[in-house]
Symmetry: C2
Subunit: 537 residues, 2 copies
Amino acid sequence: MAAIPESALAAWRLLLGPARVLTAGAELARYAASTSANPVQPLAVLRPESHGEVVAIVRSAGEFDIPLYPLSTGRNWGYGDACPTGEGQVILDLGGMNRILEVNAELAYAVLEPGVTQAQLAGHLAQLNLPLWMDCTGAGPDTSLVGNILERGFGHTPYGNRMLHVSGMRLVLSSGDTLETGFGHFSHATAAHIYPYGVGPWLDGLFTQSNFGIVTSLGLWLMPRSEVVSHAIASVAGFEDIAQVVDALRPLRMDGTLRSVVHIGNDLRVLSGGMVFPQALAPDGPPLTQSVLAALRKRSGIGAWTVSAALYGRKAQVADARRAIRRAIGKLARLQFLDDRALALGGAAARTLGDSALGRKLSAQVALGRSLLNMNRGLPDGRFLSGAYWRRRGGLPQGFPDGADPARDGCGMMWLAPVLPMRGSDLLQVHSLAAPLFARHRFDLFATYSMVNERSLGGVLTICFDKEDAAETVRAHDCYGAVFERLMAEGYIPYRVGPQSMAALDNGHDSYWRTVARIKAALDPQHLIAPGRYEPR
Amino acid sequence: MAAIPESALAAWRLLLGPARVLTAGAELARYAASTSANPVQPLAVLRPESHGEVVAIVRSAGEFDIPLYPLSTGRNWGYGDACPTGEGQVILDLGGMNRILEVNAELAYAVLEPGVTQAQLAGHLAQLNLPLWMDCTGAGPDTSLVGNILERGFGHTPYGNRMLHVSGMRLVLSSGDTLETGFGHFSHATAAHIYPYGVGPWLDGLFTQSNFGIVTSLGLWLMPRSEVVSHAIASVAGFEDIAQVVDALRPLRMDGTLRSVVHIGNDLRVLSGGMVFPQALAPDGPPLTQSVLAALRKRSGIGAWTVSAALYGRKAQVADARRAIRRAIGKLARLQFLDDRALALGGAAARTLGDSALGRKLSAQVALGRSLLNMNRGLPDGRFLSGAYWRRRGGLPQGFPDGADPARDGCGMMWLAPVLPMRGSDLLQVHSLAAPLFARHRFDLFATYSMVNERSLGGVLTICFDKEDAAETVRAHDCYGAVFERLMAEGYIPYRVGPQSMAALDNGHDSYWRTVARIKAALDPQHLIAPGRYEPR
């Protein structure tokens, strides 16, 4: 590993001031912390606070020939966290660029820098008292919106297919040039943040899951506040019962009755929201046996699968959507609808029951429902991070979810994210490919399948492991590799990967990756920006 | 202009057979016909019928160093038609590649070659009796779906933002390499046509409005058939009254009540659907005076502006949408709803009235309503092309709209397509910038503003001129240039342009176009594919 030239550090200290150039071992180690236990130490960390500073850093990095690894807040949990793609890189931490540059109430968009967090934008909209909501993911309040979008993440609302709600990026290219996409590069453009494509080639997609440029701001569309929000929860008892439900819901997702991203979680996915691995029930460690799982399902009153979908609209629209859902799956699943009124009633009942077992259970359910409805309205909640702590020694940290950070809290977790056709048979197929491999490697299988658009499911299979157990960590990586390979072979390709899998995306004869390499060479001939990131060759 | 080497023609004749290599003057002239009266003659026309033939042609074009200008059906009316971007190019006419490669009924998509026309896909879906509809434009039955999508055109339905309903392109690059976007390049990929982005940089946008590759097929999503279709028609009497209507409809477009592309046409846009320029009323030629226009509006029972919007869904959804529209604009506009029942009643009444003036008027209105409802269901109709014939000597051709082809029929027409924020004030502003320039150059101003997404209006301002009148033709070009320049200066940038405006998109200091040029050099260093197309430098 090459050391960093003192002259480069001196130049950056001059530019940013010494406090925003991090080189101390302990500071760098914080960035190298990773849930996947593949820590990669950066050479240094630079913390610019403006587009101009990014331009200056990129220019000097070119002079010193030091690659930069840009990150927003570095909370890419399960997919490599803040870790650079390789040794010898300097992290460009854009977390200090956290201005909300514009909010347009009339046309419902905001222009954000990469450091703007979910909590920050939600708070800002609340403070302005605007009838606008943002889309929210379950990754918690402190995660970056821009970072997630550039990884093509998904949220929970009708704006959950986040890629489709971006208009107008501003970037720094490796030449130091500033690039504005869409109409933004025309002077006085009136439609830069409301019409994404501009005129000429539409470039935005090029700067997602790539290393072609450094995004320093983008326009993000906001949802108009909805008169009614209702949350449908459906559960099925048996494992295979979910297939029919998927097939029955597909037409409703396709015809716009279900406009939000519908999430389908297995029992463990739901259970892990309220507990960590129950060592007392399974002294030999994971996986939990079927009988323990059955007992836990029974205790929590959940089924093998839980479907969660938010409904938005005027009263009549939501009522009609409820009827349509009931017609479609009322006989296939246990179905209930949460809304503010139901939660208020539940809360009152819980208070009446007081500190009894039933009272506590109801109270917890009401709190969960409240969190779900908040998410639907764009209010982030850290509680959905708890699954990451499943195998953590010591369980959830004090004060969870405040300040929760699975990477720095020492959680072991890796995500596999295959995309599949929105068909019950494909869901069962993916599950039946993965389950034996999880079992063989002795891990519990957490699974979510989300209706990320009208035709496909985005799967997230989670491997949780005890990072302090070296053997379990090795097994986790083996398990990940085996499942990854098996799913790829069957045509279930991931929508997103961590650095450990980027090389495996190319079979060596793929003209797609050859094309990507050509574009990289044209835009960043010196390979200054995140070399190796979504760049298998 | 360089002549084409005989060896190249010989090679192509060997490859395609002589019948698919066109070199005769009359044949080439057909391709050079253009509504904008800037005909550019190709050197030759090649008509491949398969992806493999395209690969072979591209390879040989590289050897002979002859640029290719690909087109689908060549019906890019108002934006240059089939004309190459410059002299010395060979047209690659993909019209013969017109296979519907796949229709997936369950996941609702089709895979199309570039030659597949609107009528062809609509007919195919009807023949299969599938509960699926395609999105339709008003450009008529014989236009290419792929061609329109690659120009980022818009239709009329909830799938009218066509760019968002494409998944998985197959292309030939100038190297002769085949590129599959999305997941398509992975073997056995199950989600190639249902999840557009794939993993790694999302490249699809790069191949729209560009010259980086030749698309030989793409996956297009189809709409599920809707239980109810209703068509809202609203009209306002006064010119400025439209502003409030736009502002009142914006929240409904944004909250998903209006999911389809809403079109707002001015009086002339509507009138030109049923007549050509009334020489008798205006012997000095265009523009029509305000008093003649007022009389025509009165005769046809239309206002200064007409809003046209399709509603889809179950009965309760459509009923709720109607109520919401009525609440929003019921007091601002004259509002009516068309549906099959209303048309059946209207048709019966027209038959009762028989061949009276009133009967004929009603009968024409019912026919128009039927065409609109058909378009909403993806059945193309040539009647919406009639506006192009406004200034054509001899008016509409015999048998119109069968086989209508404004370019070959000698129509003079150019389109200006500024994008503007979806606000009444912006619509009035664009109109007030354009109107005096149209008047000064003595042209009627046809205008449509379409709610192409939830936040912006796509304007189409049409200049119709008599191509047989040399002076009027010069004036038309002057008018086009003046309006183009004025709108650009005020930040109303076009979403799409004809070849005459591509150079004007770059001020010479724009890093966007510099980036585009770098990508072009990387993917097509020999400038083999459509040189100059959306490539100002």
